[in-house]
Symmetry: C2
């Protein structure tokens, strides 16, 4: 399994985040960052196979396996002193690989023209007349082949990797039929087969919207009796998400879907309190969801419910930026004791970006978060939102060797420099 | 001079901006974009020398010279039919090279730690105690060698080129002494010698602030009698800028400096109405400045003055984003008939980015500008702000061959996709 060890030496700073894990991501403070000036990281590697779906090309890649040791360079145990060295000469900070825990990675088409029209003052009627909104993306995604979807999504995965993302969630939800939802999740599987240098975690979101013109109850039954069992049977996702909001799913409908998902052994997530308050954050906490996401309209009761639960609050400030709405109450959530993660919400309608560091800039400025809070939000807490925190999110011996050698000397430069 | 011609064929769209020039950049409308589906561009090239200041390496590069012909691919004149072809296969839009007309390109150090502290809620007293603000950058820049400044600024120029910028302004102003202001402008000259693929336009901004502890009148006299004459004598810049604001220069002081600059044959610019209203936009219009920049606090009288003048209004929405202040009244300026440009304001304190397309995203969303207004703001109108509009800013025969083959199929995708 482990063929060789590599040592990274003389990072200008190494940030382990060990203190964040110790506090399970709540109330992250500066001292929890585990800053080690002139730090070193030792990890093992493994050789894995990959296959490119579009070209059929396959081969082997050497990727990180497990972290063996982390500490000050000067304290390196002698057993590693003969290992191959990759010396950063003090130029770069090393931190846990970023985790983008809420994305709609797989879709076809783009909504640039709708975006430009909306920004330029076109009315909703104008936009609807020229065919805007989520149904545009559903139509384009339904019409796309798996090859097309794969090619488009892979470019986004490559962007994500460039921004330091080593784990990315990918929701279905632009199919809204058995066949097309499965198509999207199969593309996610093939993306993983093609890119072993990232972990891609699929989430089933058949309940992203209702298909245009569909009978509401009939589509619900399709999710319960066809889509969910097929996803579970094919092993295409083990997390189920529902978009609860005015005009989308009710809490009661979500409960039916997520109860069925749990019966099938799946974990749960909720798009909660985004457009209006439906007390869906409290519902998410109540059913033990991994995360409640968006939370622009969360109530004080919802904040208290999340703080008292194991459900992570996933904030998506890029979406608020695109929608020009007030941001989620990040400060209140953290101060109440909720575990807060931040993600891009990459999607073609309301957050067309893979640039998680740019979303951190928005978060620093407009959510008023500290360095430790931002760090936790894209590492351990995001791992928690995906239930992979037992092996990801901090740089500690035994964890996956998922790290990010940043282009800069400190972590804060990642978000001080805007849109790099 | 012109060794060969190259044809670009089958761009998904070619945007000439010819109509924007025809209206001198005021009231830009959709039809002024000069969209040509399946367009072609023919241009001549020239071979120029370059010298890298840090390595001493020199050589020759082939760069674009002049645009010879623009139109539909199918209408290509027969004289060009034998020219070498670079075929984009309909994948990319071609537009005039972006022009970033207001940057503080040359400085040392960074203020990431100050930024992180400010965002995380540290008080101004805390930040001042740890040494924040413009003086931090002045100290770092004074202490840096020309080689260090060159190396740091060249990385920023390379970023700018990646974002489609083909002309970039570079202000001095982090020296605040004869010697260090000249040092910065010499670095700008060396950047130009090293990178002939971009045009770098220097601006003298000795009046960016007063040196710490300096006698106000004594420093003014130094600018008038030493800095300005030396800059003119060495030919290091032919534009002079002044930061008029509360705590910085008064309108009266700016008038003394800019009058002297004009006597020396220089053109003028003004940092106007940023922190408080000083009616400096109207002053800029009155003295015939090329541009009045910032304008966050411009008055209705200032708007009217700019609209009635030849002075371009340069807006810097990245700075308002960083400062979390209200944006400049872009809509009112354009509607009144002012010529509006948009720039990054790249600087280490209040806009640490070279990503002009990301600033366009902010502008689209938060200034409410149309596609044509945004296009004009980073092409012809920015050329106007630098007085290079006789040869830059549109794709027309006779203009400089400064174009941007965008990574996308349409112009609007440049800013719909955030922080690419």
């Amino acid at each position: 399994m482990s063929e060789k060890s590599i040592i990274l030496l003389h990072a200008s700073e190494l940030l382990t985040g060990a203190g964040i894990r110790a506090k399970d991501g709540r109330h992250p403070k500066e001292e929890d960052l585990g800053r080690i000036p002139n730090g070193a990281l030792v990890y093992s590697t493994k050789t894995v196979s990959y296959t490119d779906f579009t070209t059929g090309k396959s081969g082997k890649k050497v990727v990180g396996d497990k972290i063996l040791w982390v500490g000050e360079s000067e304290a390196l145990p002698s057993e590693y002193s003969g290992s191959p060295v990759f010396d950063l000469y003090g130029r770069n900070a090393i931190m846990p690989g970023l985790i983008d825990c809420h994305t709609h990675l797989v879709f076809a088409g783009n909504r640039a023209s709708e975006f430009a029209a909306r920004c330029g003052g076109a009315s909703y009627a104008d936009i609807a007349a020229s065919g805007g909104g989520i149904q545009t993306t559903v139509n384009a995604t339904r019409n796309a082949t798996e090859e097309e979807l794969f090619r488009l999504a892979r470019a986004r995965v490559e962007d994500a990797h460039r921004y330091g993302i080593r784990t990315i969630e990918a929701k279905s939800g632009y199919g809204l039929s058995l066949e097309t939802e499965l198509k999207i999740l199969r593309v996610v599987k093939r993306l993983q087969e093609a890119t072993p240098e990232l972990e891609i975690i699929p989430t089933f979101l058949g309940a992203h919207d209702f298909p245009k013109g569909a009978d509401r109850e009939a589509y619900l039954i399709e999710i319960l009796d066809e889509q969910l069992p097929a996803v579970a049977r094919e092993g295409l996702a083990n997390v189920c998400d529902v978009f609860i909001d005015e005009g989308y799913y009710t809490v009661e409908e979500a409960e039916r879907i997520l109860t069925r998902a749990k019966q099938l052994g799946m974990k749960t997530k909720v798009h909660a309190d985004e457009l209006v308050n439906t007390e869906s954050a409290a519902f998410a906490a109540d059913i033990g969801a991994l995360s409640a996401d968006h939370l622009l309209k969360i109530s004080p009761a919802g904040i208290a419910a999340l703080a008292a639960s194991e459900t992570t609050a996933v904030l998506l400030p890029g979406t608020a930026f695109y929608l020009k709405t007030a941001h989620a109450p990040a400060r209140a959530l953290i101060d109440a004791g909720a575990r807060v993660a931040i993600s891009t919400d990459l999607n073609p309608g309301t957050s067309m970006t893979s640039n998680l560091p740019a979303v951190l800039t928005i978060s620093a400025l407009y959510l008023g978060l500290t360095r430790a809070e931002l760090f936790a939000a894209v590492t351990y807490n995001a791992a928690r939102a995906l239930d992979v925190h037992s092996r990801k999110g901090t740089l500690e011996a035994g964890m996956d060797a998922d790290f990010f050698v940043t282009p800069y000397a400190t972590f804060e430069e990642l978000y001080y420099r805007f849109a790099w």
